[in-house]
């Protein structure tokens, strides 16, 4: 094995092209096996192996700075920079993150997981170098759909006039996570079709020097190209055409499905009859969408890339036809686009992942909420999780709920979710966001006939006394379990409340609780700081009612098991009860 001799980039320097090619094969095999075992980004990493080898062959990291965009395509880079054990030794498979991480290695400059950041980070890195009088090459590796994000475009605009060394490697695999969309990608296509010499070149128009590499999975060609731009004294774009999933036939042929895979995907026996899908919040949402779209031609669904997160598979997208738009990685556009649609009387539903909604705060505020555009947002995956620090989904409540005019709803079961969705889509008074439950699927079997146009009406599910539990959305079931535990442990019949509305207080209900309750407990599946519970604390802060807020701490957690986080945040019946007991004892008369 060539890889036996390669631990760091310096070990590549003496190798011949044939050896580098063999190394690529070895790395490819490792990645396929490892990713199939642990799950992860398969296609992007298989496509970038040769480029990673060539970059480290030509440039001298960590002196030269290589900055990965999204960084979910950093596996080959990790293998070449002291971390191959994480791909060779199954016991170390989970030791390293799937993203660049400075705490792991000096070869990783930034912790990156959201897209479109590399160019701007590189401009800053290069400018700092210039201030210090350094001579390092600064390389941004961007692609895989990231180019269409506003941050990347702002970065390119600024990079073009840097007047010193910056090398932007555009990894063009003709895909983002799903198909690419937009004029920019049409230009990349034209660039490919003309061998890099079209009538109009997007990068040259911005003022970049430009180099086209047709065979982006050919190490020799890549080395030659990178050697040409090494130590260049001005901004240059190196456009390399790679194949997503390269070397794994099924991934080459199913680029979207193999962008990110779950463990064991390659082992599964392909059965032509897929098992009947169980009902889920995604499936009931999407059934509603298809039915609504069929009946109402002004109903339209949109998302900014990652359609798989929302269960918008190819078939679903085709069925919606012109009533569906994937705007690509462009969340700011998505928000304003939705506002434009709504203002003209169309009925837009915009699906977005909690972690990515933060890519568009100003547009939520100005384009949607200030204009009171009746956009419906479906916020998916909101909640505490064992995710990477880059993909946490705990910040959407503070982010969305503190914007005026927004109505943020938290359904607790299927029937409530569908009733809220139906109301949101058909009304034209408010921007509405719905936090699609990320917990176990619950169906009551009883149609929800609530009129949600009466805002901020909480629902008392069980009337009790002494303690009131206000449990938001995904944590409603936990609230129910806490109630039972309190009964068993302290013989307290607590009141259980489903607030349904995150964005407002039910003043009457909260006032009434004062009569027969001493303590109000809030539960939310997200960060406490700036969230729902604090509003309840504020409401009662000048009364005799005590309040305990349960939720996540303000911190970036990184792949910490969920159970561990629940213990850390006291989100188990037992730990909450201890806190409650302590609080009650303190104020016993």
């Amino acid at each position: 094995m060539i890889l036996d001799k390669v631990n760091y980039p310096k070990d590549l320097k003496g190798l011949k092209i044939e050896e580098l090619n063999m190394l690529a094969s070895e790395i490819r095999e490792l990645i396929i096996k490892k990713v199939n075992t642990t799950g992860g980004h398969m296609g992007p990493n298989l496509g970038i192996i040769e480029a990673a080898i060539a970059l480290h062959y030509v440039f001298n990291a960590p002196y030269d700075k290589i900055i990965f965009d999204v960084s979910h395509q950093c596996y080959p880079h990790k293998i070449l920079t002291g971390r191959k054990e994480g791909f060779i030794n199954p016991e170390k498979y989970l030791k390293y993150t799937g993203y660049t991480a400075p705490e792991e290695s000096e070869y990783d400059l930034f912790k990156v997981g959201h897209t479109s950041t590399s160019v701007s980070l590189a401009v800053g890195t290069a400018k700092a170098r210039d201030l210090k009088g350094g001579r390092e090459n600064v390389i941004a590796l961007i692609g895989d759909g990231s180019l269409s994000g506003g941050e990347a475009l702002e970065g390119l605009d600024n990079a073009a006039c840097l007047n010193s060394n910056i090398i932007i490697v555009v990894n063009d695999n003709d895909m983002s996570i799903a198909e690419n969309h937009g004029g920019l990608y049409d230009n990349l296509k034209t660039l490919r079709e003309t061998g890099g010499e079209p009538q109009c070149n997007f990068f040259k128009a911005l003022g970049f020097d430009y180099l086209y590499v047709n065979e982006g999975n050919n190490i020799e060609k890549l080395i030659s190209a990178f050697n040409r731009v090494k130590d260049i004294n001005h901004p240059v774009v190196v456009h390399i055409c790679t194949q997503k999933g390269c070397g794994l036939k099924i991934a080459e042929e199913n680029k979207e499905a193999f962008h990110w895979i779950v463990p064991g995907t390659l082992d599964e026996k392909t059965d032509n009859e897929p098992a009947e899908q169980e009902e889920s919040y995604v499936s009931v949402t999407n059934n509603y969408i298809l039915e609504k779209a069929r009946k109402d031609k002004e109903f339209i669904v949109l998302n900014a890339a990652t359609p798989g997160v929302f269960g918008f598979d190819k078939n679903f997208r085709q069925m919606l036809g012109n009533q569906y738009t994937d705007v690509g990685i462009a969340e700011e556009h998505a928000a304003a686009y939705a506002s434009g649609l709504a203002k003209m009387g169309a009925k837009p539903v915009w699906a977005v992942m909690s972690s990515f909604v933060q890519r568009t705060y100003d547009q939520l505020s100005q384009d949607i909420c200030l204009n009171n555009s009746p956009v419906t947002m479906l916020v998916h995956w909101g909640g505490i999780s064992s995710a990477d620090a880059t993909h946490l989904c705990v910040f959407d409540i503070p982010l969305i709920s503190n914007i005026p005019n927004m109505v943020y709803l938290a359904p607790t079961n299927k029937e409530e979710h569908l009733a809220m969705l139906d109301w949101a889509v058909n009304q034209n008074e408010h921007p509405v966001a719905i936090r699609v439950p990320s917990c176990e699927f619950i169906s009551t079997g009883i149609k929800d006939n609530t009129d949600y146009s009466v805002l901020n009406k909480y629902k008392t599910e069980i009337q009790g006394s002494e303690i009131a539990i206000i449990a938001v959305g995904s944590f409603f079931a936990l609230g129910g379990r806490l109630r039972e535990y309190l009964k068993a442990k302290l013989n307290i019949d607590a009141t259980l409340i489903n607030p349904r509305f995150i964005t407002g207080l039910d003043i009457d209900l909260l006032e009434n609780l004062k009569c027969s309750h001493k303590l109000v407990v809030t539960l939310e599946d997200g960060v406490l700081s700036g969230g729902f519970g604090e509003k309840i604390s504020r409401f009662y802060s000048n009364s005799d009612i005590k309040v305990l807020n349960f939720g996540a701490k303000k911190e970036f957690t990184d792949r910490i098991p969920l159970e561990q986080l629940y213990i850390r945040y006291h989100l188990t019946e037992e730990l909450m009860t201890k806190d409650i007991e302590k609080c009650l004892n303190l104020y016993k008369v």
Copy 2:
């Protein structure tokens, strides 16, 4: 006067070119007089008069949809759409906002004040039209620096592949608020120099049809161009070259100074000896910056357009030389650029207006805070104000302070501000934001020797009992006045605390308050929802201490006088004292 006969766009239709030209002159005179009286956007509106006339001559608004970007260039449009009284009659000068406002007129589709939104809003508008089977023209008017914003670029990328009518009028006046920056503006320059036929055309590269109009202040030429694209069946860019400040010599020659002017600017006698500037938070900040930059070549200052807001005038910028970057309207890039600079050991200070910091939440969170990059942010203008709804500065505390790792500081006087700034710039542990006070300038004359690396240490300015007032930043003086009022009115010697840190709690100090205080009062110059006070409420929520939070309500206010807002939010000593008295009486034993 031609304008006597013109109230709505229909009144233009029969006019001859000479009459339209006369109309332009009349409108120009009105705008100069009105803006010089009330203050406002002078240059942008003088430049767009002819285009506004030509647009309304050719298209049929409100059937056809004209969407203004930033919309600070909508004055001629307002004059032509039923609102000329607001420019003719001094008594009505303040009746209409300086931005498009659907509540004023059906000719205004969106309420817009932040930049770069028009293209995406237009794509949504056009798509809704297509779903409904309509045939309206949809026109986005963008320019004046807005093109470089990520949202605009995402919008262009998506507009290019709309496959139906969308007309993007690029108002190219060779300026944003200050000079333009970036590859995109270099391309516009090349387009101008080549009469619209350069080697690479940015818009054509994206797939747009393209029309170049050299004389963008020539009504006849504009009418001809707009007629050519009217009812077009595909996306087209009409690039018009206009002169910012057109027709007012001093504004043509001083484009930056005349972008927005204060009342009476044209009346001032030009005195070559400007009066000695009084000290202000801006002046002491900028003196610090110049001194620091001189001594430390790795210190660098950046902003995303609007340098005037920060007092970064031409002279200041020149003195900083390569230690200054204006990235243009590109806040996302600014954040990531600053992070790149900081990671490489440079010392970036990024000045940003409170209202615009919300254009870059994800980059604050991911590029800066997750990476713990020691960037220093100077947040200007934060606080409750009589501003337009589009330019409120009350949301920065919830936005910034709920992000992990961030240290958000609120100085209360000159010495504290400078000590915080100096600490922030020279440390390399934390991202630090400083809320530059927006209140009256206060100097204690006593150097602040606090070690701010010990986080979250509040300062007890006056020790009292019964009531503790925690007054943040700009509202510290108000806290002092409240203290005096409480003494006079209720004979209470309240404790007065300057928290200094917005992002964390001083647990020891807060615990200690429990001994000799019944009530904690918080004051913050921003929205309460998600803000500082709610954290204090949460802290005391399971104790006997009562808390009252004072600050702004979660709402979009629109040009409401500050005094009125202070009364609405109970932000006067008298109103606060009433609330305090009520609270104390309730719980008298």
